[in-house]
Amino acid sequence: MTTTTDATTRRARVPLSVALAGLAVLLVVSVVVAVTFGPADVTAAEAFASIAHHLGLPVDAPDRLTDAIVWELRTPRTLTAAVVGAGLGLAGAVMQSLTRNPLADPYLLGLSSGASLGAVAVLVLGLAVALPAAAFVGALAALALSLAIARAAGSLTPTRMVLAGLAVSQLCAAATSVVIFWTATGDSYREIVTWLLGSVAGADWGSVGLSAVALVVVGLALLASAPTLDAFAFGDTAAASLGVHVERTRWSLLAAVALLTGAMVAVSGAIGFVGLVLPHGVRLVLGAPHRRLLPAVALTGAVFLVWADTLARTVFDPRELPVGVVTALVGVPVFVVLLRRRGSWS
């Protein structure tokens, strides 16, 4: 308390419009540049030409092979990474606010373990269901179970939510292990691990569409709820005294975050650390009020995951790392630095 320096007590804030414009430009540049990386040589000009051509601009497409690599493989993959990064950043920020828990992430209520169980069931048991659909259903089933457990204990308090989510996560993880243990063979095992660690390797235009629709619809609803989310900063009673219907708001925002996270998990598996770390970083730089935080964390998440995925598919070329491994490898040191910078954060 006595040794706080001016730098920690007084934060100069970057103007929001400048920050958002900067991040938006960075995102567009990142996507175009990321598309040029990969086993086949593609120049930025070719990447730009291919994308612009398909967007209907009067630009000639490059040769057919290059065009297919850019437009059919790398662009949907990069865009999926961007959309998933944005979605996970948003979901994490809202989950942390709703539970008042800095360690909350989008998967808090058993969403990722439920999705994993659904996906593994498809991969191993050969069920005739699309993998994203199974993952989505698994995520929502786990969420419903968590909420039912939390609700059975009384009103929906943050602590009950966290504990119920933990219980359901453990249950789903155990069930997943049982399924893998009994049935997985070498090939499917590798596929399962890749999926569990999170990856956008299989992304196509369908994944972009599914995740983008979820991001836009839920993202706008969350953005519109920004003042309500702010009201939770000092807890449920404070929120209620500011005129917020606490239970109803928590239920509806949880449902929104669950839909968003479910859609993200369905296309990419459970990519860790994006939704946990990025919201803290953005709060430190731009401030915690949600009108500032939410759009900024979405853009930051998008840029971050585009580069994380680019690293994941190029560093050990021709082999790929699951992007979840890269986000953890980058995310953990960043998290440690954030913790050190905020000594007063307890």
Partner: protein
Amino acid sequence: MELSARDVSWGAGGRVIVDGVSFAVPEGRVTGLLGPNGAGKSSLLRLLAGVAVPDGGVVLADATILHELPRRERARRLALLEQETHPSVPLTVLDVVLLGRIPHHSGWGLPRAGEESRDAELAVRCLATVGLGGFEGREFATLSGGERQRVQVARALAQEPRLLLLDEPTNHLDVAAQLSLLSLVRSLELTTVAALHDLNLAASWCDHVVVLDAGRVVADGAPRDVLTPELVERVYGVRAHVLDHPGTGRPLIAFDSP
């Protein structure tokens, strides 16, 4: 604003915590809510703030039933200061004061034109009122306990309420901070209800006191009439003497060792 409790009861976990409480908050005055731990002070404040809904009886605000008012309308009339609380995220002092503007907005969507700058101006004025001009950009978590409570008073003022409810606002504050906070509250000239632990603070700063014991009102009146040795012994089980403060002439309570 007229606020009164009519035969209000409320319980949790099968236990009755507030048991048939009736009293009217005197307008324009500072009322102290006294009573031992567990007497139901905080619960009664939550009921008066409309944050909890009575199981029986009603809280009336200007002759309307409080929990039937729209929530944001209620939050524009009544502001509640809880016992010391911590934000879950890093907020600046200005961010905290601006929370008080939430009930004045539609609750959905983006701010209307000019709203943000008007809110910021009002927040800066509220901070000046509580003696924290220039603190806008400071991080809330780094302030002292007394400063934090003042910021919360500024947040409450930003709600532009007609009645202020304070739950043990002087908890964890040193003597100087306690006195300066209560003198600030008096200077606001708002109808105020404050749950207090310290009988001497109540005796010197409140116009009116209400004493709760086991969820019931056991005394209601001016501090001089209510805070008698008999009442202190009956409610707190402590023998006490009521003296006159040599400076202010207000009641001063001295306790015997048990």
